[in-house]
Symmetry: C2
Subunit: 212 residues, 2 copies
């Protein structure tokens, strides 16, 4: 697959402006990226900027810390889908995970993924792998295999990023039907290719143009 078709062209900093979003939408059309990934507030605008193209609109839910309540996340999903989001990248409740409250980790993600599935949209579960121990990672993989989201995504990009080791682990242990999105620190072509070789199906990066 062409590398451009694997890229979610991303701008998620808190001070993102409409001008930033327009720029990445123009670039995404030009380079035929898979999607743009923008803050919830900009979903409607990105949809307009991308009208008539095949580029999808992705956004983030509970981003970047994941510890908002499930109903707040579901509310964000509803709004984003109404405004045109095709794909939704959800942060897990890391606070619950670090407190050993696995039933809460699972039910939070399950309810949000179900809300997304009912709308016919694509779900990506962000596990923030750089903050997980090996056993926590294993348990998250098990939960994801039970919930069956469209993608597992390695990182928010705010806490360290994807590693080849984690990608290989995910690919070896996630069900074959669950795709993988690598994100965080992917800034050049060789890193991008290494991530794809290690098992990534999609790359989240703000350096999409530079790395082509």
């Amino acid at each position: 697959m062409e590398i451009n078709k694997t890229i979610d062209h991303t701008v998620l900093k808190p001070q993102t402006s409409s001008t930033d979003v327009e720029k990445i939408c123009v670039e995404a059309r030009q380079h035929e990226f898979c999607a743009v990934c923008v803050p919830p507030y900009f979903v409607g605008r990105a949809k307009q900027f991308l009208q008539g193209s095949d580029v999808l609109v992705a956004t983030v839910i509970g981003f970047p810390y994941g510890y908002a309540g499930t109903m707040a996340k579901v509310e964000e999903v509803k709004r984003a889908v109404e405004e045109g989001a095709d794909e939704l990248d959800i942060v897990i409740n890391l606070g619950a995970l670090k407190s050993g409250d696995w039933p809460q980790v699972k039910s939070d993600i399950e309810r949000v993924v179900t809300a997304i599935r009912l709308k016919g949209k694509v779900s990506k579960v962000i596990i923030e792998s750089s903050l997980l121990s090996q056993s926590e990672l294993a348990r998250m993989v098990q939960i994801c295999n039970e919930i069956n989201p469209d993608f597992v995504k390695t990182s928010t990009g705010t806490q360290g990023g994807a590693t080849e080791e984690v990608l290989r682990y995910l690919r070896a242990n996630l069900k074959a039907g669950i795709k993988i999105k690598a994100s965080g620190g992917i800034r050049d072509n060789s890193t991008a290719r290494a991530m794809l070789s290690a098992g990534a199906d999609r790359l989240g990066t703000s350096s999409g143009v530079a790395l082509l």
Copy 2:
């Protein structure tokens, strides 16, 4: 006023655990801090740990990026108040601000502050001053003067922190009834005292014990 009574003893990192929350609650009781400030997921637990003490429970809404929709923020407020939050620190929609969409910036904060006021709780509007130009700061002050939250808070602590200059500007330009919470980078006693001298009424810090 004793410095301990100005402190919101804070833990907000994404990987915060129940153990972290218990620790800051124990410290807050011991040193008679004003409040603890914890992720939404931990509000109920903090309330339990603090039972029988005067320490308040604060939490954060739309934290730390602020670009989730207003209804998601209102949903977070509802849940947090149900679980026992006394004070709610809300991040403004910086994306709307940086796009010049001031009506949206205002209506977002106004609706969330109103929801908090109707519950009889304390609102703190986080303006993330380190990301604002002088004219953006001036306009945010004007909006806050119109909406009248209990506090204006300088920073989330993820994007640079409070400065004495900003505190002096806020104190000179906010209505007298609006208090100021300084946060971000307050790690020692002399910084804490400088912030209070420059106009802060409350200090948000994860170094509350060290700075006493």
